[in-house]
Subunit: 552 residues, 2 copies
């Protein structure tokens, strides 16, 4: 793993980050980079090999070295970087924390999930918790003394949270929300696929649990959000039993638990029956996190592949000028297809990073930018997780047979990355969110705003073949969407039929815009711009053809 501070700084500048941001990054990232490279990266393969072990209902051990690395990270005070100082945080913008997380995740995604989920729980509590909850529980989440989880999925429901059956009942004998109490709700039910649901990083774990009160309405509107600690204040086990760990394709270093809540005590977070909107604070944070995983995976795919292609030799270049006669064969980087695959990975890593940072910087002023973030988040998550899978598959291809072998790391990378298009809402869910909820339901306004803003950016650039192509793609997108909106009124099924292509189409446009931004600042990036516009962006043609054949 090679540090990439220059790329971080370039990307921040391309997205008009403030001097304050740039200074902070230069201060913080070198230390985080060293920690990631020296401590986390070597644990990545260890995590895959060893996985996590369930000891009993109460105890799970993580791979050797994982918990010790966490203690080191926590003790150096890196955890609560972007939380208010009154809750023991450092008070920096949340974008700084996202970049910190990106660097750690590039080294070891599975490890980074534990602190990531802890911070997601902290954010959810900060935004929706009452003052007693904030006082009692938040500081431990911010310092990292306690980590957290999000408990949504149940055996019978994944994407469709309206089917949740975990129950919550008020215990009239409990004292409401006082610092003395352990919560006035009793939770019962089974949650599956709970990432970092149990581990040995911290003694206590605060579970954010969606559950249904008997008194509430059916469906999504009858679900509330609860904070359920693994251990109560007096140290007794709150009967959040780890029934088993899942045996997964990848991310072996991250424990994925089936949890049984048996009369477990919990606090209500926010308002009764508002569990779904409250949980969306966590979900949206996690969606950005999955996009971040995609950027991290694409970065490592590009790094691994370039290193290998500069070393491995096979055949002669078609270009005789590139022959290295002192060797029996040329380095495989000289072969156009190998080089193109690596260029594609680099485009996805750099373009994806820029897409991520744009959202991260918008999130620093979340209230002001809420609408734009709402529009960009499903694109970022849906598109980037798909491209990351592609990048890691290409990395295997560059390695050839060696890519299929454990020790060369790219096959692990591809397995770890495969979950990205599934968790926190599949690509189809992101696509429906974008097209149905964010565009059609809002009468195209977010789309039109995006197109307008993008055109303004393009107008400031020299008019060349690439900006012209972007104008053309935007016009086609708007024209198609207007026609489609009429059609979809009478045929709702069409939305589901084209949404994934629609998301891909916009995704390629957004990534193109970002690569142009990087190219304007850094001439070294222009070759990636060329590669992207010639070899990747044409995919929009097939997506648009599909949409037209199905939808118009």
């Amino acid at each position: 793993m090679k540090p990439f501070l220059d790329s971080i700084l370039l990307t921040l500048r391309a997205n008009r980050a403030s001097i304050y941001h740039l200074e902070l990054i230069q201060d913080i990232i070198p230390t985080i980079s060293s920690f990631s490279k020296d401590v986390l990266y070597p644990l990545n393969a260890v995590g895959d090999r060893h996985g996590c072990k369930r000891i009993d209902c109460e105890h799970v051990t993580t791979p050797p070295g994982f918990a010790a690395a966490y203690r080191q990270y926590k003790e150096q005070g890196w955890h609560g970087l972007s939380f208010p100082e009154e809750y023991s945080g450092t008070g920096l913008p949340s974008s700084i924390n996202i970049i910190k997380t990106e660097v750690m995740a590039t080294a070891n995604w599975s490890w980074s999930m534990y602190p990531g989920l802890g911070l997601g729980a902290a954010r959810t509590l900060l935004k929706h918790g009452c003052s007693n909850l904030l006082k009692d529980y938040l500081p431990k989440l911010v310092t990292g003394e306690v980590l957290g989880t999000m408990c949504l999925t149940e055996p019978q429901c994944g994407s469709d949270l309206s089917l949740i059956s975990t129950s919550a009942a008020r215990d009239p004998s409990a004292v409401r929300d006082t610092s003395a109490g352990d919560g006035e709700y009793i939770i019962n039910g089974t949650k599956i696929f709970i990432s970092c649901g149990n581990h040995d990083f911290t003694r206590n774990i605060y579970h954010c649990v969606l559950a249904r009160m008997k008194s509430g309405p059916p469906g999504l509107k009858g679900i509330s959000l609860f904070l359920v600690p693994k251990y109560l204040k007096d140290g007794t086990f709150n009967k959040v039993d780890t029934v088993r760990l899942e045996s997964k394709m990848g991310c072996h270093g991250s424990s994925t638990c089936e949890l049984h809540f048996s009369d477990s005590r919990g606090h209500l977070i926010g308002t009764e029956n508002k569990g779904i909107p409250h949980m969306f604070t966590f979900i949206n944070t996690s969606r950005i996190g999955v996009a971040l995983q995609g950027v991290a995976a694409s970065e490592m795919a590009a790094q691994y592949s370039l290193d290998y292609a500069l070393e491995r030799r096979a055949m002669r270049s078609f270009d005789t000028k590139k022959h290295e006669h002192e060797f029996p064969a040329d380095r495989i980087i000289v072969h156009p297809n190998v080089n193109d695959m690596i260029m594609t990975m680099r485009c996805f890593a750099d373009g994806g990073r820029s897409m991520l940072y744009e959202c991260a910087l918008l999130a620093d002023q979340e209230d002001k930018n809420e609408k734009e973030l709402d529009f960009l988040t499903p694109i970022l998550k849906g598109f980037m997780s798909e491209r990351a899978i592609e990048a890691t598959q290409l990395a295997i291809q560059v390695f050839g047979g060696h890519g299929y072998i454990f020790e060369n790391k790219v096959e692990q990378l591809s397995r770890d990355t495969r979950i990205g298009t599934i968790y926190e809402g599949t690509t189809a869910i992101q696509a429906l969110d974008l097209l149905a909820r964010k565009i059609l339901q809002r009468k195209l306004e977010p789309l039109n705003n995006f197109c307008k803003k993008t055109r303004q950016e393009l107008y400031r650039q020299p008019c060349d073949a690439y900006t012209r192509e972007m104008f053309r793609l935007l016009i086609e997108l708007q024209a198609f969407t207007i026609r489609f909106a009429f059609q979809a009124k009478t045929n709702h099924e069409l939305i589901g039929k084209i949404a994934v292509d629609y998301l891909a189409y916009i995704g390629y446009i957004v990534m193109g815009i970002h690569l142009l931004r990087l190219g304007r600042l850094d001439p070294g990036h222009l070759k990636y711009v060329d590669h992207y516009f010639n070899m990747i962006l044409p995919r929009t043609k097939s997506h648009m053809t599909v949409m037209k054949r199905v939808g118009n």
Copy 2:
């Protein structure tokens, strides 16, 4: 696993197989199907979990049940189905054997690799071995008493076989090719990634080894092919040491060995320094085998996904008529995106099967159809292995989080299938073979013949939107290739830059033709034709755009 005899028969009829073929298939396949479903399929997950174990240099054990299943198969006489009766075979057309293999491979690809490699060695020997070799060694390969391997790759060379350094030296004291001798050549060197390189299916193993004689010219033209048995005739170990087993992403049931040959004795197969052309008998058989793996994987991806989507419930259909009010949510098959993913897998399985059978039937009269097979093989292998990876990834997506979990089988399917675009020549190698060797070097003749033959087929069909689109794609393909051939004369690098897109472009055309064939015979297939032409075939647009931007 569901049997698919009807699909086999339909596909044979669509490709104008003889009555003889159809009768044979109806005789043979039901038994093979039962064996595959009842014996091989349950072993598929066992193989993934247990993998193979190296005991010592001489011994490797396969997963529990694998060797016993092989004995059952061998004793029932299924192995040498398509070999001449004079060598203890059954004398049936080789296409029958390919279909037999497809059924077994659908149940358990890793297991099917062992007999597959044995038959590849038998074919190579049959075609190039001298009479003494045929007499002494072939019958055991045909009955399956002995299995075989292909030993090409070395640590320093994969795609580039010119770098082979394993040495062969003539032992003047040995008697040439008599039935009494163990071969007059002494082999030394290291071979890696040897599939089924050691196992407990059979006591002896015949390795087909590429090695270099000191006397020969450098490069590809100085390589010869040898038959090196694991055990000599007197039963002594021929020092083909299994140094280690590779730890792979998938295909855990198939042993992948690093073999050291230390003064191992071997027989020359065919002519000295003609090892590469001789080995292409084996390689081309294996390329068909990899395409077959792709068909098998796509079939299982479609089967698993459809079963799951008919059972799993989430959300309500956009179409109120499809609501099942007696359940809390509708089956996920009603969601257009889920249904489309399954349709895509079915297109790849059925279209790929038809592409495979076309080649298999051509191979029954190999001499007559050599040129056509030469042209179609890289398309079949390159395109089908890519589509199979896509199909298995889509299957994971249909399963959502459950697809990432071992017990639901689709993640294993995707890992097992991932190697397809790599072994027996990567997609880029297939693409260069197609564009450079099979098309440009032969002055476009094979392409023009293919286009002509395809047009003749289309002329016999009603002129509708789909046949018109096919005509258009063929014209665009030929026009592009003519222009490109001029350009490539002065810029060889362009070939490497567009070859993979070129292969994909033709691949989508060929699969479209085959789906039309199936649709003509079976109206039930017309919905797949619609799906393919609306949602898959438009990908040709992006491939052509890339080719034009880069190449024209």
